[in-house]
């Protein structure tokens, strides 16, 4: 077991090294793509700033709590983007062009290779930017940072990355049946845009859907509320988020292998 984990870790690190070498071949492009993420992040911060020129609170959230929420979501999103997202974006093309064959023939689990074969190195500094904005918001909130608080935030970030992974995998697996599955990516972006909003703003069916079925309204909201106001996140909702993420991950793994059975390659 230990040898197998070591073997996968070696492959993963080799992917990282290869991705870095690849990115450094087109340094201008590398910098531009980092700037893209910074632009969109700044856009969200400007939106918050402009909104709070007109109001004091939104659904009970102050300006710096909102900044912390957006920073936390960005941190999770960028980490997921670093290690997995680019691979999922390329997944429909792998199927359409039959290049998935090359991954299936390698001595490692197919899902592991599909999820991790390339790193998006440019997202690493952007995840630090998300962390930095969290720190900036935290300083304005005047709440004390504790080791327990940091450990809790890190735990929620791991959960968040797992939730991103499961949701995008579920959305991208239909590529086994549909020729062009890029439309599913748009749904993913819209779903995780919801994670950046205060949960208290939502009502009725949508609140239930995005809390109990796809818990995107919990993943950043829970740690941010707890960090900003001190104390721990509600145990019941946290347990639901953990259970929901595990269930979605299990469903995504099953769905991937179900789809894989349909794969027939595209070669002659």
């Amino acid at each position: 077991m230990q040898t197998k984990v070591r073997h996968l870790l070696d492959i993963w690190l080799a992917h990282g090294k290869y991705s870095l070498a690849r990115e450094m071949m087109f340094r201008g492009n590398f910098i531009i793509w980092m700037a893209v993420e910074v632009c969109w992040f700044v856009l969200q911060l400007v939106f918050i700033k402009v909104l709070y020129l007109h109001v004091d609170t939104i659904a009970g959230w102050t300006q710096w709590e909102m900044v912390l929420l957006v920073g936390m979501s960005q941190w999770m999103q960028q980490l997921f983007q670093t290690f997995c997202m680019v691979n999922f974006l390329q997944f429909p093309e792998l199927i359409r062009e039959g290049k998935l064959d090359f991954l299936l023939l390698r001595p490692a689990p197919a899902l592991f290779l599909v999820s991790t074969r390339q790193w998006d190195i440019g997202s690493i500094p952007n995840s630090f930017l998300g962390m930095g904005v969290c720190g900036w918001a935290f300083a304005h909130l005047g709440a004390g940072i504790t080791v327990g608080g940091l450990a809790m935030a890190a735990g929620f970030v791991v959960l968040g990355v797992a939730l991103h992974w499961a949701v995008l995998l579920i959305l991208i697996v239909p590529a086994f049946w549909v020729t062009k599955a890029h439309g599913f990516i748009g749904v993913y972006y819209q779903l995780f845009n919801i994670a950046r909003q205060p949960r208290e703003a939502f009502k009725g069916l949508f609140l239930r859907l995005f809390t109990w079925t796809i818990p995107v309204l919990l993943v950043a909201n829970l740690p941010v509320r707890a960090l900003a106001r001190g104390g721990m996140p509600p145990l019941g909702l946290t347990a639901w988020l953990v259970a929901g993420t595990v269930a979605l991950c299990a469903a995504a793994v099953w769905f991937f292998h179900f789809g894989l059975r349909r794969y027939t390659s595209a070669s002659s």
Binding site: F26, I32, A35, V36, W40, I58, G183, Q190, Q197, F206
Partner: protein
């Protein structure tokens, strides 16, 4: 003369039909794109609902006017905004596909514009059903808007916005004459257009002088101006000034696009069959 015109018309009609059919080849992707373009409305509805809690008007907008603003943006996005035109133009250049067009008695800009218009027509046709349902369901947000007076000028402003947005996409696509990859530039430009154009929030929410700068920029003519015309926020001299500004930016964009096309063609080389 008449025969030449008829032939040209047949050619353009053929391109339009081709674009319309191409938009519908990958139906799943197409329907999902329509669906995901409607999802942000959910967020808008709830978040702005929370912003307006206990407030009458903000930045000169009531809650209903704010919702009408975002509904109008949704229509603009679905029926009048380019989607992947810049990437397709860049791919035409990078892969040498424009060689085929250059050899034909055809204007590449007009050819791309017809493909853009046809794909938007297809998108609008299929998005019209969910859009109509949404608009009907939330019809009370339009109650205070004098649609009978604003629909016609708004349609002209929406068309102006489509031409301006297409021209900007066309220019961005032409950067492929010099750059290997234009994706980063496209998304940076997109973010600037969204923010300065009033796609994220109405420009009236900005403090001065930022509001005036944004309204006067080409981005303001792309989103804020046509939507404000529809909502009846602009009258008389302000309306004519807005149209003048929009068409001035279209002229500037056309001039720049023509310049880039001419310079790019001098740099373009095609190798092989």
């Amino acid at each position: 003369m008449k025969e030449a015109l008829s032939l040209a018309f047949q050619g353009w009609r053929g391109i339009f039909t081709l674009g319309f059919q191409s938009a519908l080849i990958y139906r799943w992707g197409f329907f999902l794109r329509v669906f995901s373009s409607l999802l942000p409305l959910v967020v808008t509805w709830f978040v702005w609902g929370a912003v307006y809690q206990g407030k009458g008007t903000l930045g000169g907008y009531s809650w209903a006017a704010m919702m009408a603003y975002y509904f109008a943006l949704l229509v603009l996005d679905n029926g009048f905004a380019p989607t992947e035109d810049d990437f397709q133009i860049a791919s035409d250049i990078r892969d040498g596909k424009i060689s085929q067009i250059l050899l034909r008695p055809m204007n590449y800009g007009a050819y791309r514009f017809l493909l853009f218009a046809s794909s938007r027509a297809a998108h609008l046709l299929f998005a019209s059903v969910p859009l109509a349902v949404l608009l009907w369901f939330f019809r009370e947000v339009f109650v205070g808007i004098p649609l009978s007076k604003t629909l016609l000028p708004a349609f002209v402003a929406f068309c102006g916005s489509a031409v301006l947005q297409f021209s900007i996409s066309f220019m961005t696509g032409l950067l492929a004459f010099w750059l290997l990859e234009i994706g980063g530039i496209v998304f940076i430009l997109f973010a600037v257009e969204f923010l300065a154009g009033g796609h994220v929030f109405p420009l009236d929410f900005l403090p001065e002088p930022w509001r005036t700068i944004a309204v006067s920029s080409p981005c303001g003519s792309e989103y804020w101006f046509p939507v404000s015309v529809l909502l009846g926020h602009l009258h008389g001299a302000a309306l004519w000034h807005g149209f003048l500004l929009q068409w001035m930016w279209i002229a500037v964009a056309f001039g720049l696009a023509a310049f880039l096309w001419k310079r790019g063609l001098k740099k373009y080389t095609a190798v092989g069959g």
